[in-house]
């Protein structure tokens, strides 16, 4: 039996520059960044910019960790966008697969700060396990399908989406909420600061002056659905998700393999599952953290897989719009790319002015680019040498109902 086809029928966004998919589309079209000079955490004299989310006041506060609040906002939007809420009995079989890097680290901090206060410690500890984020989303919306939490640093939500894709491809689920969330935490600010991975100025992916990343917080959650299931209910289809791959570098705990060894393998596996060649990929959304090591390694990986086409296939990084949202970045940036595909627009990489010769690929810059995109790839890399590539393609009548 052929694998089932999987389509994206709902998009949910919580980001520093957008609190919905529509807002994100507008922000990308208008080159509007949500990064601001802020010091959400005291690193003793070091001030960093960050992508801080202003959650709407209506966001419920019932003791859940901030990372779950970010996820709940995105999940609510994705479900609303999908139109599922108004239709039949879908909750029992709908699964949740979410990724996070830092998870509920703010609750862990509260547990430590609570010292001998047993009540406070007990109150916060319930949120501390990483699995609390997916559990909170499933509980809030009464979902009873496959429930899973992925924690793979910066590829967390990409892996969650890939796994959800497989569950539906193989007929084990019809509808999955997939994506991820991460909140700004003292843990992250301190850690990336001592690793000297954060820029004191602005994030400039692929620019020769790049000197680090800007952290952000947010959540991206998608409704993934089996094609016939979506057709039967007349769902609006944003795009088809058609392949993914994951592979390890087996190289270094924090640095990418200089030739993007694992990323090449992940891209190759994604192409194989999608049944596509590199000639059929029209655009690549790269991780593009703006760190000295990441960007050249990614470009090397692109050359390794795309060959001569690596210099002509357009690429971008969306990190300067809302920061590096760690475990949420894969989902948020896939959503941004799909929104661009639907609007025949490639969002530019902000702040990339003088391309680094080590990054000799076609980085979309300036005002962005009006271009039809039929198939795109989104790649992410992480601590621990983890890499994921996802492939999405235009669905006939994308953005309209599937009938």
């Amino acid at each position: 039996m052929s694998p089932h086809r999987v389509v994206i029928t709902g998009l949910g966004v919580t980001a520093a520059n957008a609190l919905s998919a529509d807002e994100l589309a507008q922000a990308l079209a208008n080159r509007r960044s949500g990064i601001r000079r802020a010091a959400p955490f005291d690193i003793e004299g070091r001030t960093y910019s960050a992508g801080v989310v202003d959650l709407p006041d209506k966001a419920p506060d019932d003791g859940v960790d901030r990372v779950s609040k970010l996820a709940l906002h995105a999940a609510e939007q994705a479900l609303h966008d999908s139109g599922l809420e108004a239709q039949g009995n879908w909750r029992e079989e709908t699964g949740v697969m979410l990724g996070t890097s830092r998870g509920p680290a703010l609750s862990l901090e509260q547990v430590i700060r609570s010292g001998g206060d047993e009540d406070a410690r007990r109150r916060h500890f319930g949120e501390v396990p990483f699995s609390s984020i997916a559990r909170n989303v499933a509980d809030r919306f009464g979902l009873g399908g496959i429930l899973s939490t992925v924690t793979m640093a910066c590829v967390s939500s990409s892996l969650a989406m890939g796994r959800a894709l497989d569950e539906i491809r193989q007929g084990r689920a019809s509808v999955m909420l997939a994506g991820g969330a991460d909140a700004l935490t003292l843990l992250s600010f301190s850690g990336f600061s001592v690793l000297r991975a954060m820029t004191p100025t602005v994030c400039r992916p692929f620019d020769h002056r790049r000197n680090g990343m800007v952290l952000g917080e947010g959540a991206g959650i998608l409704v993934l659905e089996e094609l016939d299931h979506a057709r039967q209910r007349g769902a609006r289809i944003h795009a088809e998700l058609c392949g993914w791959g994951t592979a390890g570098d087996a190289h270094h705990p924090t640095s990418p393999h200089p030739e993007g060894r694992g990323l090449q393998q992940a891209m190759t596996l994604a192409l194989r599952q999608a049944g596509l060649t590199t000639e059929q990929i029209d655009f690549v959304n790269l991780h593009g953290t703006g760190t000295p090591a990441n960007d050249p390694a990614e470009c090397h990986a692109l050359r390794g897989v795309f060959g001569a086409r690596a210099t002509s296939v357009p690429v971008n990084s969306l990190k300067p719009y809302f920061g590096h949202t760690l475990g949420a970045s894969g989902a948020l940036e896939l959503i941004g790319s799909v929104l661009g595909m639907a609007r025949d627009f490639l969002p530019p990489t902000l702040n990339c002015e003088e391309l680094d010769p080590k990054c000799d690929v076609d980085v979309v810059r300036g005002e962005g680019r009006a271009q039809r995109i039929d198939t795109l790839m989104s790649t992410k890399s992480a601590f621990g040498g983890a890499n994921v590539a996802l492939i999405a393609r235009r669905f006939p009548g994308t953005g309209r109902t599937a009938r």
Partner: protein, 340 residues
Amino acid sequence: MSRRIVISGLGAVCPRATGPTALWELFSRGDAGPPSSLAERIPDAAFVKQSSQLRHMDRLGRIALTATTLAIEDAGPGNPLQTGIAFGSGYGCLPTNEEYLEGILERGGRYGNPVVFQNTVTNAATGYISMVHDLRGPTATLCSGHAAGLEALRFGCQQIEEGQAERMVVVGADTLSPMLLAGLALPEATRVSEAACALVLEEHTRALTRGAHRHAEVLGTGHRGGSLTNQAHTLARAVRDAMHMARIEPEQLGAVFSCASGRGDFDGWEQRGLHEALGAHAAKVPVSCPKDVLGETFSTAGMLAVVLATRALDKGCALVTALGGEGCALAVVLRGGAHD
């Protein structure tokens, strides 16, 4: 399953047993014995010799590496590009995050220890293990509570089924910390233990061709989530899915390796879930509870039960369950022996 998948390598490390044979002997004796403390730790002597490259690994990585090394030695060499790793941990790097946070809360954010920080992602352990054993295929780190170990096994099977890897190393591990133990608020006299367990999975024909020992075959897996107030039903659905995938009826099950832990709420869910899924056969099939002997090992419990099941099975089928009170349930159906 679309492809037959076998277990060709086993590795396990617990406070009182290193290796599958020692684990089986401990379990067979059925005598938990008096614990040195109710929270047992693996003696450092059990760890594999650490190269200088690995001196920065945290405890989670070290115990997971020990189990993985045993499993890979048991399975024999494979193609690195075609070998992936799936790591499951209920609490993951929580003790390391605790250590890092305590340090910066005391001394200030700019004085964080970078060596500790690099281990504050749970997939640091996965990355280290992949470096040591040159595993360059699919990689995943899963943290779905107590079910995470069996979830890693399920992911490993899926990657082989999808043709993304020839073999997958699947690992489950959890370590302990005072904060974790206090936060869990377990009933008094609950024996908890850190543990790590690893399996090597590969496609049946490939294992047969290279003459590998086939400890058991994975016939089916089930994975469900649901309300925290309805865990028995969630487990029942996971069991039914696994049985359906395995294409067997309840009467064909020769044994159940249960995740029952001695806690009233958990064990009630387990019992009701098995009865809902297996019907009348639930009262007839022998049920083993490895935690009676091994203690509560969180995400590793399901994986250790798989190792025990491979030792217990001759040609029959066994069901292994994992349920942790986080809303997530896993079930795996195994068949023993080499069925060619």
